[in-house]
């Protein structure tokens, strides 16, 4: 981090940042080995570090505030949602007048108004809409999400940049650290992911078991609870009555219809407990959320981001769980990497004949048992080999389909390519991104594989 010129310049606004500078300018015994304390360290971080915050909800609002007050000056925030009234009990950057506006834009504006000198670029879009290179500009990615799929996607993007040297050690410049937070009611977690060193999201995916769904036969034949009646109206009755019209959980009329149908069914079977609030909870799968837990978890994440970037103290190793239901229970668990992980490992090996074309390669991905990826787009070292969308890119890259991969990869015996497409996970089609190691048969011994040249 040290740069002699910047360190020599007097620090900006020393009075304002007095407290933070104490931590960044004084040496300590329990710090990271890379820590280089100096009065100018804060300015170095402010000038050279770009941070991405994924999500501008309960955690995201807190994270932007915490990071802006931790010396980070270049932030980006990405979120596809707009503000809802039910966000206001914890997403403190939003006001009632903001309802309906994009979260990322309002959150960025509010933090910039309050903390002078900080610049936040909002991105009101889906995380999948961004090109991979967008994510490569950040030194660290902080996640404030409530969806497993989104975490999994960002994790695969960040791990996708990771390259291994010939000894299977991570190449330091390609490591993109992440800090991930999550909450549910009084409980939450904060974790640090250093791809190639600590377990990635996919290594411990079992920590996030998929939600249990009611069997359809229970809903149709032996309902017992209010939730069964609601799901019957939602998953079975709606389609029966509204042939083809999609259900919209944000449409109050739709929700009212589900509620009244659920009530009718509950009455028919002598089941109690159907309320409008429960109907919303079941249909939208609402996770209860409170300001204090979001504040606690975000603070832990921001602090870890500051420590990772500055080295001013050790890092959590590597997973904190918090539970405020009974006392304030903190537990740190050191999970281990899955060395065979498809996402943060060196990459799934695909062997190709030198004559295999790009289109044959894409076909292989569909059938590969570990990938089962359809509609794949393929990139190599930041260059698009084939893109399914948008249309202009598809047209530009279409002619590559008939060219052998060996030629497209400039005749190198081994190369790392990134593929993104749709894959099946828990019975659902989800966006998937995978890093692959392509080896060409008969060109060189596979044991001498070196992926560094691919960049």
């Amino acid at each position: 981090m040290a740069s002699p010129d910047a360190a020599a310049a007097p620090p900006t606004e020393p009075e304002r940042w007095r407290d933070l500078d104490i931590l960044l300018s004084r040496p300590g015994n329990l710090v990271h080995s890379t820590f280089d304390p100096s009065p100018g360290l804060r300015d170095l971080i402010g000038s050279f570090v770009e941070v991405l915050v994924v999500g501008a909800g309960g955690l995201g609002c807190e994270l932007l505030k915490d990071l802006a007050l931790s010396g980070f000056k270049n932030l980006h925030v990405i979120d596809m949602d707009t503000i809802d009234v039910s966000n206001l009990n914890r997403q403190f950057l939003f006001r009632i007048q903001d309802v309906g506006k994009p979260k990322a834009e309002v959150a960025a504006k509010r933090v910039m108004e309050r903390v002078s000198g900080v610049n936040i670029v909002p991105h009101f879009c889906r995380i999948e809409d961004k090109e991979l290179e967008f994510y490569n500009q950040f030194q660290i990615i902080v996640l404030g999400l409530d969806s497993i799929e989104a975490r999994s996607y960002i994790n695969s993007v960040a791990c996708g940049f990771l390259e291994y040297d010939s000894d299977d050690k991570p190449v330091q410049e390609t490591v993109k650290p992440m800090v991930d937070g999550g909450t549910e009611g009084f409980k939450g977690h904060a974790r640090v992911i250093i791809p190639g060193t600590t377990p990635c999201f996919e290594c411990n995916i079992w920590l996030f078991p998929p939600q249990v769904k009611f069997p359809l036969c229970t809903l149709a034949e032996t309902p017992r609870t209010a939730a069964h009646c609601i799901e019957y109206a939602h998953l079975i009755k709606w389609d029966e009555v509204h042939s083809g019209k999609p259900f919209d959980a944000d449409d109050t009329e739709h929700m009212q219809w589900i509620y009244s149908e659920a009530l009718k069914r509950a009455e028919l079977f002598g089941i109690s407990g159907v309320t409008y609030s429960l109907t919303q909870g079941v249909v939208k799968n609402i996770i209860p959320a409170i300001a204090s837990t979001n504040a606690i978890i975000s603070a832990a994440c921001a602090l870890e981001a500051l420590k990772l970037i500055s080295g001013c103290s050790k890092s959590v190793s590597n997973y904190l769980t918090y539970n405020g239901l009974v006392g304030t229970h903190n537990k740190v668990t050191e999970f281990v990497r899955d060395t065979d992980c498809l996402v943060c490992g060196p990459g799934t090996l695909i062997e190709l004949d030198t004559s295999s074309t790009l289109s044959e390669f894409i076909k292989m991905l569909e059938e590969h048992p570990k990938l089962l990826m359809s509609k794949a787009s393929v990139t190599h070292g930041g260059n698009n080999l084939y893109m399914q969308s948008p249309e202009v890119l598809e047209q530009m890259t279409r002619q590559n389909l008939s060219i052998p991969m060996f030629e497209l990869l400039k005749g190198t015996p081994f190369a790392t390519v990134h593929v993104s497409g749709m894959a099946e996970s828990n019975g659902k089609k989800v966006s998937s991104l995978r890093k692959l190691r392509v080896a060409f048969k008969g060109v060189e011994e596979a044991s001498k594989m070196d992926t560094t040249e691919s960049s």
Binding site: E15, R16, W17, R18, D19, L20, I22, L23, R26, G28, L30, K65, A68, L69, S70, V85, S86, L88, N89, R90, F92, R95, I96, Q97, V99, G100, K101, R114, S116, G185, T222, P223, R224, G270, I271, S277, G281, I286, I287, P288, I290, A291, S292, T293, A295, I296, A299, A300, L303, E304, S313, K314, V316, N323, G324, L325, V326, G327, T328, N330
Partner: protein
């Protein structure tokens, strides 16, 4: 769509938290008045979380003016506030977050307020005292104790900090634990449940009926069958429990019968020790359950519970009255639900009778505890919690030595114990030198041995000789020099606000001592001293 709406419907605005603490919890929050001492980032962040959740009113006591350094760590201040009252500036930004909350301020230093106007504090539900030195905190604690006001002390200090709750007694009916065993009484079924189980043929040859017979019925019937063959005893040894599972499996018609799988998984419930857990026994036997005119409702209810157990309860608590979802025909399940509900209602009625008669006996209005309250109590008797906190004075003058030694012996708690001692040592040094150790770069070298000396004297006052402190942590605390780092303050303030919510709603269980934040590796601990 909703952009034209000027005010948010509270039901919608608070939806995500109402799902946690319900209308009653929310009503308690909206009635509460909170006083914050010192509105640095730790206190401000605590209040921010409470204001968002719709706390009744907040009063900020702070005598300082906004300085440059406030803008580096407090989000609710900006350049426009420089030179103005910090309390006033914070209040106006807090008000922006939620106009349903009343935000007031007093421009006065908390230490002066504690010294000169102790009666000021008696108007509040909870006092959140932040960044106060030990001497002021001790005085405030005794003021709060005598007025029976909840005190939550919070402090951020570099990469460490603490939160301490102090109140003589805090009783919780709705502790809402994460996991609790269903109250099914399979070890001791009552007549109606047994009769219902008997009315169902568990050997019904109709496969649909067979695989939709609820496991409650299966277990009641098979436990009876087992008892008949074992001199009236239920399975108790490991071997017997295994055999009982085999007995259940022997009744399966098919391997895919979920209800039988559930019965095997729940088979241990027939072997539950009857009667009352040690924890609840302790509450029932507490001297406070000898009630008089000035006893709280909670203890009147406990006294009634004690009578109930000895009489109608036959040694058991009132039935909770709810059953979990299980594989079953709708009609069986609904009938079972009704049987459990009816028993719970009759237990509750008996309790109500006892509550009234006790109230009458101690000279109170027999209707002064509502039926709804008795019902809630009956539903939660297995989960009652009584939290008692020692005063700070007691903790400081006579800590529980065996606990202290245990903490020093454990690696993670040892870190927390070091921070605890060092933060107290900081206050002693500050009292002597009028500055924090490490405050000036030039004096860090001298401050390290001074802090160590002060820490050793704290230890010896606690009655500990020879417990060794970590040199690394002494140096760290000197390095921190009392800096309030925003994310640390947000964490500590977050914990403080969460404790306030639990104390005000009287739901969930507040922390039972001093929470010590460890910002180095996040292995924070709670010390009960």
């Amino acid at each position: 769509m909703a952009a034209a709406v000027a005010v948010a419907e509270p039901k919608t605005k608070y939806d995500r938290q109402l799902r946690i603490w319900g209308d009653q919890g929310q009503a308690a929050l909206e009635k509460a008045s909170i006083c914050l001492l010192n509105c640095g980032p730790t206190g401000t962040e605590a209040l921010k979380n409470l204001v968002l959740g719709g706390i009744g009113s907040v009063t900020v006591v702070d005598g300082s003016k906004v300085e440059q350094s406030d803008l580096g760590n407090n989000f609710l201040l900006d350049e426009g506030c420089l030179g103005q009252s910090r309390a006033k500036s914070i209040c106006s930004f807090l008000q922006e977050l939620n106009d349903a909350v009343k935000a007031k301020y007093v421009e006065e230093s908390p230490a002066t307020m504690i010294d000169t106007n102790p009666s000021f504090f008696s108007q509040f539900t909870v006092i959140i005292a932040t960044q106060l030195p030990e001497s002021s905190l001790l005085k405030l604690d005794s003021i709060c104790r005598s007025a029976n006001i909840v005190l939550v002390a919070a402090r951020s200090y570099g990469l460490t900090g603490l939160v301490r709750v102090s109140i003589k007694e805090h009783c919780v009916i709705e502790s809402k634990p994460d996991h609790s065993l269903d109250d099914l009484r399979l070890h001791n079924p009552w007549t109606e449940l047994k009769q219902f189980a008997k009315s169902i043929d568990i050997c019904d040859k109709d496969p649909v009926v067979h695989k939709h017979t609820p496991y409650i019925v299966i277990l009641v019937r098979l436990a009876e069958k087992w008892a008949d063959a074992h001199d009236g005893q239920l399975p108790s040894t490991r071997q017997e429990k295994r055999e009982f599972k085999d007995l259940i499996r022997a009744h399966m018609l098919n391997v895919d019968e979920d209800n039988y799988k559930e019965a095997v998984e729940s088979s241990y419930k027939v072997s539950v020790t009857p009667g009352i857990s040690d924890e609840i026994r302790q509450i029932i036997d507490d001297s406070s359950s000898e009630v008089n005119f000035s006893s709280s409702d909670f203890w009147v209810l406990v006294a009634s519970l004690k009578e109930f157990i000895a009489n109608e309860g036959n040694g058991e608590l009132p039935l909770e009255g709810t059953i979990p979802d299980m594989t079953s025909l709708t009609e069986y399940y609904v009938s079972l639900q009704k049987i459990y509900q009816a028993k719970a209602e009759s237990d509750c009625l008996a309790m109500e009778y006892r509550v009234k008669s006790i109230l009458k006996r101690i000279g109170r209005d027999p209707d002064s505890i509502s039926r709804a309250c008795i019902k809630t109590f009956c539903k939660n008797t297995r989960k009652l919690k009584v939290c008692r906190y020692r005063s700070l004075e007691e903790e400081f003058s006579s800590p529980v030595l065996s606990e202290v030694q245990k903490y020093f012996a454990d690696e993670d708690s040892c870190f927390a114990m070091n921070f605890y001692v060092l933060l107290r040592a900081v206050d002693r040094l500050a009292a002597n030198y009028s500055r924090l150790p490490g405050q000036f770069d030039s004096e860090i070298g001298e401050d390290v041995p001074r802090l160590k000396e002060a820490a050793v004297s704290v230890l010896s006052d606690m009655g500990l000789k020879g417990s060794s402190l970590s040199e690394d942590l002494i140096a760290e605390v000197c390095r921190f020099a009392g800096a309030e780092i925003h994310p640390v303050a947000a964490f500590i303030g977050g914990v403080a606000s969460q404790e306030v919510i639990k104390l005000v709603t009287k739901q969930f269980v507040p922390l039972n001592g001093t929470f010590i934040f460890n910002g180095i590796d996040l292995k924070s601990q709670v010390l009960a001293l």
